[in-house]
């Protein structure tokens, strides 16, 4: 069993008649990037806010870095870096002064750390400029530097690529991967499906405040794998395959049949067809995309298409 850095049990938040987070139970193991995926309003930010002590849960419990949050939340938060929602800094202070201030209240690190972090996020040349003069991308980079102050064990990054251009998004994703390889755990919240797919090792999918699925990315996608093939008689083949209980659906497109079925059972497909006198001409597994999976499990929720920022 992996050591868990975040563990929630039936975590719930209700605002008047709105159930923002509904009995959420997630387990985030140490190391790697864990994605909280869901459309806007699915409860990602509320969940992070509860974990960071900004919002009180209506009910439920959680542990951070192995500490019970009723007695050890402040202590745990000292080892957690976070970006929640938009970058929030003092507009009249420079980027460097902002980091210096936050470092001062955290009480760990020195000016060398600040220069290292500014360099890491590519802000060294504008570190002396006031925050109010920064572009959205620069603000987002400063947020990442802020989250890294004090060398935290766990990073909460809420939509860290918001407002970045495609090149900036790619850089930040690379940076997130890099941070996770240094032994840290990154809890990444995003509504960008391809971002989560590219960066995360594990994922929890939220919809309307409820947990729809969680687990290793590969396992989740394999559960909904597909097999694409052509046969000597596609009409008969479709009827034969549709009758198999473990095949979810069969569709015909561009001269191919696609059976929604675990790819590792493709030999059974071949056998079933051969038994009925239909020969397979070509067959290949198809990895279902996270986007497709997401649409399936969340019903009519609308995730953001690749490249679309919120």
């Amino acid at each position: 069993m992996h050591e868990l850095v975040v563990e929630t049990h039936a975590l719930t938040k209700r605002y008047a008649s709105v159930l923002a987070v509904d009995s959420l139970s997630i387990q985030v193991p140490r190391g790697g990037v864990f994605g909280l995926l869901g459309p806007n309003g699915s409860g990602k930010t509320t969940t992070m806010s509860m974990l960071l002590g900004l919002v009180s849960p209506t009910s439920g419990t959680f542990r951070l870095l192995g500490r019970d949050t009723r007695s050890g939340r402040q202590e745990a938060l000292h080892h957690i870096g976070a970006i929640v929602e938009s970058p929030s800094f003092y507009p009249y202070l420079s980027g460097r002064m902002n980091l210096r201030y936050f470092q001062g209240i955290i009480g760990r690190g020195d000016s060398i750390d600040i220069e290292r972090l500014l360099d890491l996020v590519g802000l060294s040349s504008r570190a002396h400029s006031k925050f109010s003069t920064y572009s959205q991308g620069m603000k987002q980079r400063l947020s990442i530097a802020y989250a890294m102050l004090g060398d935290p064990d766990l990073l909460f990054l809420d939509e860290p690529t918001n407002g970045l251009d495609p090149a900036g998004m790619a850089e930040v994703r690379e940076l997130i991967r890099h941070l996770s390889t240094e032994g840290r755990t990154v809890l990444l919240s995003s509504h960008l499906l391809h971002e989560v797919e590219q960066v995360c090792d594990r994922v929890a999918i939220l919809s309307r405040g409820r947990l729809i699925a969680q687990g290793a990315m590969r396992d989740i996608l394999q559960q909904r794998g597909a097999v694409r093939f052509t046969t000597t008689d596609d009409t008969r083949a479709a009827a034969i395959i549709s009758a198999l209980p473990w095949v979810a659906s069969v569709t015909a497109e561009n001269g191919y049949l696609t059976a929604e079925a675990p790819p590792e059972r493709s030999w059974e497909l071949t056998k079933a067809l051969a038994d009925q006198g239909v020969s397979v001409k070509e067959m290949a597994p198809v990895q279902v995309s996270l986007e497709r999976y997401f649409l399936e499990v969340t019903g009519d929720d609308s995730p953001s298409a690749p490249g679309e920022a919120s």
Binding site: G81, S86, G104, G150
Partner: protein, 285 residues
């Protein structure tokens, strides 16, 4: 306990790091200095045309300092409310409050550090006003020469620290008031507006009601502004001029009464602000 105090003092230090880089506190200090120096030099000018012992005491030491502190208090209440509401409210507006608390800073410690800083700044501003007034009083005194014949020498140096203590202490309930309303409304503008409306409305209501109802004097003796004014007026042989709002009508409570009532206001409003700050969710701010 010592560790918590050290933590609050560290937070206070970093609050000062931020605040000293804003224009607002320096502009306010400038206003206080200009007004206090105007008082000294206008008194000096008046004394040149119409010599009087009372006027002479207004611009020479030690009498000038308690008078200037009385003036600084009445203007300072206005300024301290604006500064308090701004210092707290901008954290909500800029959403920096989330960044601070998300890194493990305790809520009550954070609010306490803000209040401590505002109290220290209020005291520091009064000390600077006193120092500058002392210098200008020495110059004005030297230019004016000896006191007019027959003027009483009622001003005492012991009144200087007493006047300083009263002026400083009288700021505290207003800091607590503005803190409470800013935390309640999570807005600088609203916190400022409500606190200032209360400040002025109280003095107007007290003035009207005291003229209409004799029983209202009992009610008035428990109001914030009335007690602040009472404290500033109390035992003031040297405080020739009372600038405090709420003065001038009816009889004032005693200094001890005023001190106790103001202390209750400080504890109640400060405690409520901290309680509210700890309970509140920080959503979207």
């Amino acid at each position: 306990m010592m560790a918590r105090m050290a933590h609050i003092m560290n937070l206070t230090r970093w609050e000062w790091y931020k605040l000293r880089r804003r224009w607002l506190p320096w502009i306010m200090l400038g206003v206080l200095l200009v007004v206090s120096q105007l008082f000294v030099w206008v008194s000096y000018s008046v004394n040149r045309s119409e010599q009087s012992g009372d006027i002479y005491a207004n611009f020479t030491l030690p009498g000038s300092i308690p008078n200037v502190l009385g003036l600084a208090h009445s203007i300072g209440v206005f300024l301290v409310v604006i500064l308090t509401a701004s210092v707290l409210g901008t954290e909500y507006r800029w959403r920096t409050i989330r960044s601070i608390l998300a890194r493990g800073t305790g809520r009550w410690q954070y609010l306490a550090s803000k209040i401590v800083l505002l109290i220290l700044m209020a005291g520091g501003a009064l000390l600077i006003v006193m120092a500058v007034t002392a210098v200008s009083s020495l110059i004005a005194g030297a230019l004016a020469g000896d006191a007019p014949a027959g003027s009483s020498d009622s001003a005492r140096w012991i009144d200087v620290p007493i006047a300083f203590g009263k002026a400083w202490f009288s700021f505290l309930p207003y800091i607590a008031l503005a803190t409470f309303f800013t935390v309640l409304t999570t807005s600088s503008a609203a916190g400022m507006a409500i606190s200032l409306v209360y400040y002025y409305a109280e003095s107007i209501v007290v003035a009207i009601c005291l003229n209409l109802f004799t029983w209202f004097e009992t009610v008035a003796s428990y109001l914030l502004g009335r007690n602040a004014a009472a404290l500033m007026r109390s035992g003031d042989d040297t405080m020739v001029i009372n600038f405090a709002i709420g003065g001038g009508f009816g009889s004032f409570p005693s200094a001890l009464h005023a001190f106790l009532v103001l202390t209750i206001y400080i504890l109640a409003l400060g405690g409520l602000a901290i309680w509210l700050f700890r309970q509140r969710d920080l959503t979207g701010s």
